[in-house]
């Protein structure tokens, strides 16, 4: 950006302003939406409501979207994140129901999610199928497996009385007044940010995503990194599966797919509206917040439930359109 403007000459004020707007498009969008809802509904900016946004509209989607960000960072996409969520949830609930200790069941759940990731890794890194198609196949196979495991799609309930203390703590407990799911999400956000920006793995992964050929010529073992990235996707999504089932104390087949399109939306909003146009955790988190705030704000406006979905779509569409058009103007 700076190189371009200096070669043209002294940047004019409007151009400078436009550049700033484009560079911070996502933050500006978030602030605008936030301000608009604060004016429209007095209950929106209250502490209680903001907390409810974080707990109800943010936590699970944020974790799944971070998983998706790893897939996008190596230049891929993962349509089977929901499958990893479901498999983890199924293993967790079934084992707790069978009387296994919660820790063991949780580990099995994480393992189940990672197994979905490993299956994708074999297809993508081993055989070389494009991530979109490979994970689409996994999604379909996963759906059948879940129906076979549950006699055609029956939910697995955990009676509230039968749920161990640790199980309930994971879903509804609090540490120092902060809900446990939120704490876990914060840890994952921090960890994922460190991995993508500070660790060698993250930088290599991004390099593969941006310029696969250059990464290859620099002696990077792309296959191994892509494989690890997709296993990470399954593992992180599995955490969301554990929290989901601990919160609602039930496993419902193929319910994880509800996160898929929003996770893709949040990740790509964060990617395209960030300054460098690369997948990044803060961008993804802002994307999730934008979706969450819009959903919650529209709910508070008392708009008809069906109009809310239209409103969400329109707002996201407007944000995308404006930022893409501005970006085009700024680089023209």
């Amino acid at each position: 950006m700076t190189l371009q403007t200096s070669s043209i000459g002294t940047p004019t004020l409007p151009r400078l302003l436009l550049g700033t707007v484009v560079d911070n498009a996502l933050v500006l969008a978030l602030v605008t939406v936030f301000a608009a809802f604060s004016i429209a509904t007095p209950t929106f900016p209250t502490l209680a409501n903001l907390q409810s946004i974080l707990v109800n509209n943010f936590t699970l989607l944020a974790i799944v979207a971070i998983a998706m960000t790893f897939a996008v960072s190596v230049g891929g996409i993962d349509l089977s994140v929901g499958t990893a969520v479901d498999f983890a949830s199924f293993a967790f609930v079934s084992l707790v129901l069978a009387g296994q200790p919660v820790a063991i069941a949780a580990l099995a759940g994480l393992g189940a999610g990672a197994a979905v990731g490993a299956f994708n890794a074999v297809l993508i890194s081993g055989i070389g199928i494009s991530p979109f198609l490979a994970t689409l196949g996994t999604l379909f196979i996963g759906r059948s497996i879940q129906q076979l495991l549950t006699n055609g799609g029956n939910p697995v309930y955990l009676p509230p009385s039968g749920a161990p203390e640790a199980f309930r703590f994971l879903g509804r407990g609090a540490i120092a007044g902060i809900p446990v799911p939120l704490v876990i999400a914060a840890v994952i956000v921090a960890g994922a940010t460190l991995i993508l920006t500070r660790a060698r793995f993250g930088r290599v992964a991004l390099a593969i995503g941006i310029q696969p050929s250059v990464a290859r010529y620099s002696g990077i073992t792309a296959r191994a990194h892509v494989a690890v990235a997709f296993i990470l996707v399954g593992l992180i999504a599995a955490v969301a599966g554990l929290i989901l089932s601990a919160t609602v104390t039930v496993y419902i087949p193929s319910s994880g797919n509800a996160f898929l399109l929003n996770a893709i939306g949040a990740t790509f909003i964060g990617t395209t509206l960030s300054r460098l146009g690369r997948p990044n955790i803060p961008g993804t988190i802002l994307g999730v917040l934008l979706l969450g705030i819009v959903a919650n704000g529209l709910l508070l406006t008392g708009l008809n439930f069906y109009w809310q979905q239209v409103g969400t779509g329109l707002l996201i569409f407007a944000v995308l359109a404006l930022s893409f058009i501005n970006r085009r103007k700024a680089t023209a």
């Binding site: 146009g277 809310q308 893409f324």
Partner: protein, 342 residues
Amino acid sequence: MSVDIQLAPVIHFEPGQSGFSSARGVNLAAAALRAGSLIAFVAILVVFSVTAPYFLSVGNIGNVLGQSAISGVLAIGLTIVLIAGGSNVVTGGIDLSLAANMGLSAAVYATIAQLGYGDATAVAAALLTGGLIGVVNAIAVVGAGIVPLLATLAVMNIVAGLELVLTQNTVIPASTPLLTALSSSGLFGIPALAYVLLVFTLIAAAIVQYTPAGLRLYAVGEFPDAARAAGLPVRRLVAGAFIASGLCGGFAGILSVSNLSGSTTGSGEMLLPVVVTALLGSVFSRRLVPTVIGTLLSTLFVGFLVNGFQLLNISSVLVSGVQGLLILLVVSATTLLRRQEA
């Protein structure tokens, strides 16, 4: 100036060293895959017809054709976008709004029919709805420069929401002369929808495969830079593909009203199966590219599979698993083959 944001390029690995080494082996493998998909298709037909006697009867084949009509029309619409957008699904051509489009168009048709307007008005309204959705997609992708995956995702949400607003999440019954005709049986006792699918495919294939505009779509999708350099109206062609796909969504909406005697909710469920069908279609073509006829074959392939399972009383929960396995098998074979050719 357009901005080429490389959101997610296809991951390229070193061309593989495994498998065939001679050019002859490559050709053999290519031929094997091309023939293989057709052989698999025929083999499945044979297996089913031996195990389920009713399977190969005219009535049953007609049924499968009729039941495949809606997904076939949608998949052909998606195929046009795939052709114009190129092979990379993430940055290239995809239309996620197609299934929601069908739902809204069906709701519009049923609502207008219920208000007492004639078939002509209802058909026009449904096609107009689908076409408008296509125009919005086209403006978003070509005008604003949003990546198709994101643009059509946002449009999908809006359209699905509008359908809910219009129907209040209920079934809108509809009964008109056209719907009665569409849901009746035609020549040889084969459902009218089967003929609709065949005629629609022929028209679409004629336009996409045998006109200059169709050829240009392929050029734009596969070599956008070369197409631009050659002076093709790249933006107009891509926009046209999205509008065509939108019209297909509207048309599928009309068919779905006739099939279900009204508009029903849950059209979004069709999205991923249609994506799979359209992507599978390219193995039924000689150069492994998306074609209209290839998509028809893959639609029928899936249709016969589901039908055979039903006749053999195999649990329907396996269907999506088999679809998933199929796409993985087909795509890994294609990938290995491409590696040989590279």
